[in-house]
């Protein structure tokens, strides 16, 4: 590479890294900044000593500061812990159910000459254009009648409305890109049609299915609108509204930053671990 080009590439790389990471790193720094150093003028980039007490306190433990002072658990710890558990349960359920439903459908739409195929795909695309805020009222009315509001089941159902169309859309393009020879070989070997799919096609698309699973989990874990309107205040409240409840009246910014970091950890780890699969996701769909 010529020098000039190298300078441009490395400058660009640094800028991209800074743009991506600085907001996240700053949040992490804030979460370990001692209260008395927070918001000092001028703002320090790095606290002179680290205060890790926010984390155990948010998880319901007492914590001892560096000066030996014992701090009680955060008043919001119960909410935060409950929120994390609810989020995990809901997201896992959504992942399992949406995969079970979407994989066969995506396969059929990609591989088989099904009548209404085009209509089906278009409908799925159209559902992506519905603003979530517009469907909350109908759902809420229905869920109230069925006793589903304020429950994890209700939230799972609500999340499926978002996740399933997304997965079908992505999955269809996965399966369309697989070589057709796969099924033929399987059928020649005496597999039934279901077996051809379940024993040959699915294993062959495992990386893609992993990516779909990660996307399903993240979408559910991150969902805020339904979670806020259906489940806030109930025992089934997920993490995002629990975090939102920390922002009113008296809050401690460093504590809020720590709580946010706790909630960010699962999606960030998942995304980082599986990014090479996610990278291959073809959101373009089939044409």
């Amino acid at each position: 590479m010529r020098l000039g080009r190298r300078v441009i590439v490395y400058t660009g790389a640094l800028l991209l890294a800074a743009w991506t990471l600085i907001p996240l790193v700053w949040l992490a720094i804030t979460s370990v900044t001692p209260g008395n150093e927070f918001a000092r003028q001028p703002l320090p980039f790095w606290p002179s000593n680290l205060d890790l007490t926010n984390y155990p306190r948010l998880l319901g433990q007492e914590a001892t500061t560096s000066s030996g002072e014992v701090l009680a658990a955060s008043g919001h710890s119960e909410l935060i812990v409950e929120g994390l558990i609810n989020s995990a349960v809901v997201a896992l359920a959504v992942t399992v159910i949406s995969l079970a439903v979407s994989i066969p459908a995506a396969y059929a739409l990609a591989r088989l000459e099904v009548r209404w195929r085009q209509t089906g795909l278009l409908t799925i695309l159209a559902t992506r254009a519905i603003p979530p805020i517009a469907t909350t009222i109908p759902f809420y009315a229905l869920f109230s009648q069925l006793g589903l509001s304020g429950t994890r089941t209700g939230l799972v159902i609500a999340h499926l409305t978002i996740v399933v169309p997304l997965l079908v859309w992505i999955g269809t393009s996965f399966f369309a890109s697989l070589p057709v020879g796969l099924e033929r070989m399987a059928r020649v070997d005496g597999c039934s049609r279901f077996q051809a799919v379940s024993k040959v096609v699915v294993p062959a698309s495992l990386p893609s299915i992993t990516a779909m699973a990660v996307i399903a989990f993240l979408t559910s874990w991150n969902e805020f609108t339904f979670a806020l309107i259906f489940n806030t205040g109930s025992a089934a409240q997920t993490f995002p509204p629990a975090l939102a409840s920390m922002f009113f009246q008296v809050s401690v910014p460093t504590e809020v930053a720590a709580a946010t970091c706790l909630g960010l950890l699962p999606p960030l780890v998942l995304a980082a671990v599986f990014q090479r699969y996610i990278r291959k996701v073809n959101f373009v769909g089939i044409q």
Binding site: L16, P23, P42, V101, R111, L112, E113, P132, A271, F283
Partner: protein, 318 residues
């Protein structure tokens, strides 16, 4: 699409054998419908129902406080379309979508072009750019509160260390770009990934040829790169634009539509009408207008972009 014929062929053969499993006995069409059935049921139950219901609400006017409900036909629609506030909000939504799309595309394209190069740390960068995408819009809003805040934000820290004073990013003139930056930060990684996937398919020879022809950087981009990425780019624009048009969490959390309504886009206006003012009919009618606008713009754009883009690629292929 060549796929389907082959599948049909192989479907015909085993069907003739006796004692074949059920899945192989039925016609391709039925097998397909069987696989799609759960999704169809789910879609009907959880997508068609709320949509139909909100259509119904949109032609009624109810005030739960005074206890009146009446059928009003299209009055909610005409009222929305006749109100200056609605149009201001719609215009603001369009400006927001435009900002998000432009910023998001610039970042995504820049990142993709960069990541096509070989450099030290590329693998690391490739891995970390996914992180913002993994966050919810809501969490992204929290993260950026800590960047923008004039009291404890990172931006304030930088300008204070540089000897300046903190800037308020959320003033009425800057709030839309500021929100759009957050949105772009979060959504660009996705675009970067799939633009990169396409860019990697461009044969290096083409660039070499272009160089021999004496093309500059921009002309190489226009004549070699752009034809390849036109279609994925078009689709990315649709995705990010749709996202921006229906965005609610980010605005709810960072500004609540403020200051003074300066970031009150249509989804937030719908929230206010529906939940704060309890005008369900009006909220539903505006949701429908938003939906129609998004669908019409998307389909129109999609058709246009694919026609133009598709033509180009075919030419290149030859």
């Amino acid at each position: 699409m060549t796929v389907t014929t082959e599948v049909r062929d192989l479907a015909a053969a085993p069907a003739a054998r006796p004692r074949t499993p059920f899945s192989s006995r039925i016609s391709t069409n039925r097998f397909g419908l069987l696989l799609i059935a759960p999704v169809v049921l789910l879609t009907v139950a959880i997508v068609v129902y709320p949509v139909a219901y909100s259509l119904y609400i949109s032609v009624t006017s109810s005030n739960p406080i005074t206890g009146t409900t009446r059928f009003v036909g299209i009055e909610n629609y005409t009222q929305a379309l006749g109100s200056g506030e609605f149009w201001r909000t719609l215009l603001l939504t369009l400006v927001y979508v435009l900002c998000v799309t432009v910023l998001g595309t610039l970042v995504a394209l820049g990142a993709a072009l960069l990541l096509r190069e070989k450099f030290f740390g590329r693998r690391f960068l490739m891995a970390v750019i996914v992180l913002p995408w993994a966050l919810s819009t809501y969490a992204a809003a929290v993260v950026w509160r800590y960047v923008y805040s004039p009291q404890f934000g990172f931006a304030a820290a930088v300008s204070e260390h540089a000897g300046g004073s903190a800037t308020d990013f959320l003033t009425s003139s800057s709030v839309i770009p500021a929100l759009a930056a957050v949105h772009a930060w979060q959504f660009a990684p996705l675009g970067a990934y799939f633009l990169l996937a396409t860019l990697q398919m461009v044969p290096d020879d083409l660039y070499k040829l272009a160089k021999v022809d004496g093309m500059g950087v921009f002309s190489r981009f226009r004549n070699v790169t752009l034809p390849y990425i036109r279609v994925p780019l078009a689709i990315f624009l649709v995705l990010i634009g749709g996202q921006a048009a229906t965005a609610f969490d980010l605005i709810y959390f960072l500004t609540s539509g403020g200051p003074g309504g300066a970031s009150r886009t249509l989804p937030f206006f719908i929230y206010e009408e529906t939940f704060q003012n309890q005008r369900l009919g009006s909220g539903a009618a505006m949701s429908w207008i938003l939906l129609v606008v998004v669908v019409v713009v998307t389909v129109g754009y999609y058709t246009f972009a694919l026609r133009v883009g598709g033509g180009k690629t075919k030419e290149e292929d030859r």
